[in-house]
Structure formats: C-alpha cells, structure tokens
C-alpha cells in the first residue's frame, strides 16, 4: 500500500527557518531515484501475479527471513506503508507493513477478523497501481493473527491506518485490488488512468 510520504515530508520542510533548498533538492532527487529502483521490482497492474491467490507458507526457513528483509527494504525505498509478497511475484502468504513511523512488522499466513461495527471510506493508493488513488470502505478496527518469519505466533489489534493497511495487504494475498473494492465510477476512472498510454518515439 502506498502512502503519500513525499507530501507529508514536504509539509514539514524548513521548520527551523534555515535555507536547505540546495541540500533538500539533492536529497529529494536521490530519494526519488531509490524509489524508482524499488518500484522497478514491484509488479505493476495488469501483471497477472497481482490476480493470483498466494499459497500458505509451510516452511519457516532462511529464505523466508531473507524474503521479509527484502520486502521491508523495498517497501521503505518505495515509500510505501505495506507490501505483500504477491506484489514482487512470490505467491506466498506473507506481507510487511509499517504505517507512519511504527516499526516494520511482518505477518505470515495472516487471519483477519474484522470489527464490522464501524467502517470508514478513505482514499487508498497502492505500490502496484502507482497513479491511482480510489476511495475504499474498510473496517476501522481489526485483529490480525498469524506467524512471524521465525514461525512464532503473532496477534495484533489494530485501529485506523494500520487496520486499513493490513486489510489492503491481505486483499493482495487473495488477488484482490483496490479497484475491485471501490465504487463503479472511481473504478471506471482508475481503469482509464491504468490503461496503457501512448508514447511517441
């Protein structure tokens, strides 16, 4: 899931009143370069991997730990707040998430319990649907259970943005995208944006 860190950071620039214009532009360029490199490894719509249901993880080995580490780095570099394994073409039920400044957490074989009493519609972005932000209705509170990469049980009670992120990532593991959960008009607009654009060469 994508979150607009760039906008947040822009809003907090120059709080100390000093002129960092030159340094900031250099840092911004470098951050954008790193972001593009990371996005180059994240599958983009309409890649079929995004529509496939991931398999349960059965082996908690070194590969899984490396996979989670790599996904966490990609998510961070791409300035996202969540990343599912299907988004990098690995059909295993594992995702990482780190909403806001919280530490990175990984959930393997997640089981989601929604508190349906309260729902909220908010705009969501996605690292696999780069230019698209669509309104999606989600439960505001969830409980997610599963394993960590070492095979130990984890259970998180989440509310607000973290709850939205884990619902978004769990959808990815089932081949469901935000454009499937939004209203028909937003979906139509999103598909128009996602349609391959002509490039004159």
């Amino acid at each position: 899931m994508a979150h607009d860190h760039a906008r947040d950071e822009h809003d907090h620039e120059h709080e100390d009143g000093h002129d960092h214009e030159h340094d900031d532009s250099g840092a911004d360029r470098e951050r954008e370069f790193v972001r593009r490199q990371a996005l180059a490894q994240i599958r983009q719509y309409p890649d079929v991997a995004l529509r496939m249901r991931a398999r349960e993880v059965t082996e908690f080995d070194e590969f899984l730990v490396q996979l989670v580490e790599r996904m966490a780095n990609l998510m961070h570099d791409a300035q996202g707040v969540g990343l599912a394994a299907t988004q990098i073409g690995v059909l295993q039920r594992v995702f990482v998430f780190a909403p806001d400044d919280e530490p990175m957490r990984a959930v393997v074989n997640p089981r989601l319990t929604l508190d349906e009493s309260e729902k909220l519609v908010e705009e969501e972005g996605c690292l696999s649907l780069r230019e698209v932000r669509v309104p999606v209705e989600r439960a505001t509170k969830v409980v997610i259970e599963g394993k960590d990469p070492n095979g130990d049980d984890v259970r998180y009670e989440l509310e607000g943005l973290p709850a939205r992120v884990v619902q978004h990532e769990t959808d990815h593991l089932d081949g469901v995208l935000t454009i499937d959960r939004t209203d028909p008009e937003s979906r139509k607009q999103a598909l128009g944006v996602l349609r391959p654009k002509p490039t004159l060469v």
């Binding site: 593009r36 490199q37 996005l39 180059a40 490894q41 599958r43 890649d47 079929v48 991997a49 529509r51 496939m52 590969f63 490396q66 790599r70 990098i88 073409g89 690995v90 059909l91 139509k188 598909l191 128009g192 349609r195 391959p196 654009k197 002509p198 490039t199 004159l200 060469v201």
Partner: protein, 158 residues
C-alpha cells in the same frame, strides 16, 4: 461491366455488411472509446501502445542490472571451471571421478542459488496463470542446475 457492380466487388465505399457479431464488436469499441485516450487525437508518429518500464530506463542509464550481472558472472565462472577442468582432464589419472567429486564449485553454485531464488523477483519475470508458475525464458525454465560431479563427468568422462 456496370459501375455499381465494380464498386460492389472492390468495396470502396467501406464496410457494407453488418453481422450481429461485428455489430456487437463495434458497440463495444464505441463504449471503449470513452476510456481511450487516443480517441479524437491524430496519430502523427509511430505509436507505442505501452509505457517504457522504469527498469528499462535504469538499465539503459546505468548499465546492466544486478540480476544481469549475476548471470554474466555465472557464465564467466562456468567458463573458467571448464578451462581448468579441461586441463585437469588432460592429465587425469584413474581417480578422475574422485577429482570430479571433490571439485569446488562453491563460488558459481552460490551465484546459481541466488539466481534461482531472486531472478523472477528482480527481473519481474512474467507468470503463467494456468500453471501458476513463471514463464519459460528462451524456451527453458529460468532455474539453473548447480554444478556437480555429474555435470563434470558428462563433459569430461573418466
């Protein structure tokens, strides 16, 4: 020959027959036009109906990507092993199978293991939804077999 008959043969007035399937197709195209950014715009130059991928841009700016370099290293190291094996094979004794079994392929096998693990992720290798597996590369699976004694004896028999 009558003029109308010639026109009928050549069909210069455009599409004449409308069959139910072609009618449905035209209606779909007309509806599709609502979302198509090309509608109403002249196509003055050659059109590429896709966007260049960022990895292509990066590769073109900064040289081969890591997975490409790793494949190059695998090829180079395999060639080096072949040269050394050829020399050793020329001087072989009765213990050649043991020499082949003891041959250290650690460097290249480590790269092969990393290639098998990460290549589809790094290269965004396409998936076949039917097989739920990655498509073949050049008609072969992308995975490479690690080098071992059998690989040696296949090329340099005892």
């Amino acid at each position: 020959m009558k003029r109308p008959h010639a026109e009928e043969i050549l069909g210069e007035w455009g599409i004449r027959d409308v069959t139910p399937p072609s009618q449905r197709e035209r209606e779909q195209l007309a509806a599709d036009g609502e979302l198509n950014p090309l509608v109403g715009r002249p196509l003055r130059r050659r059109l590429r109906n896709f966007r260049p991928a960022p990895d292509s841009y990066i590769a073109s700016l900064g040289g081969p990507l890591p997975y490409m370099q790793r494949l190059q290293q695998i090829e180079a190291l395999t060639r080096e092993h072949l040269v050394r094996l050829e020399e050793a094979h020329a001087e072989r004794g009765a213990d050649w199978p043991e020499v082949a079994a003891r041959w250290d392929f650690g460097d290249v096998n480590d790269l092969i293991e990393r290639h098998n693990r990460w290549y589809p992720v790094e290269a965004r290798l396409a998936m076949d939804p039917r097989s739920r597996d990655f498509v073949k590369v050049g008609g072969r699976p992308y995975q490479r077999d690690p080098l071992d004694a059998a690989w040696v004896l296949e090329r340099f028999p005892a």
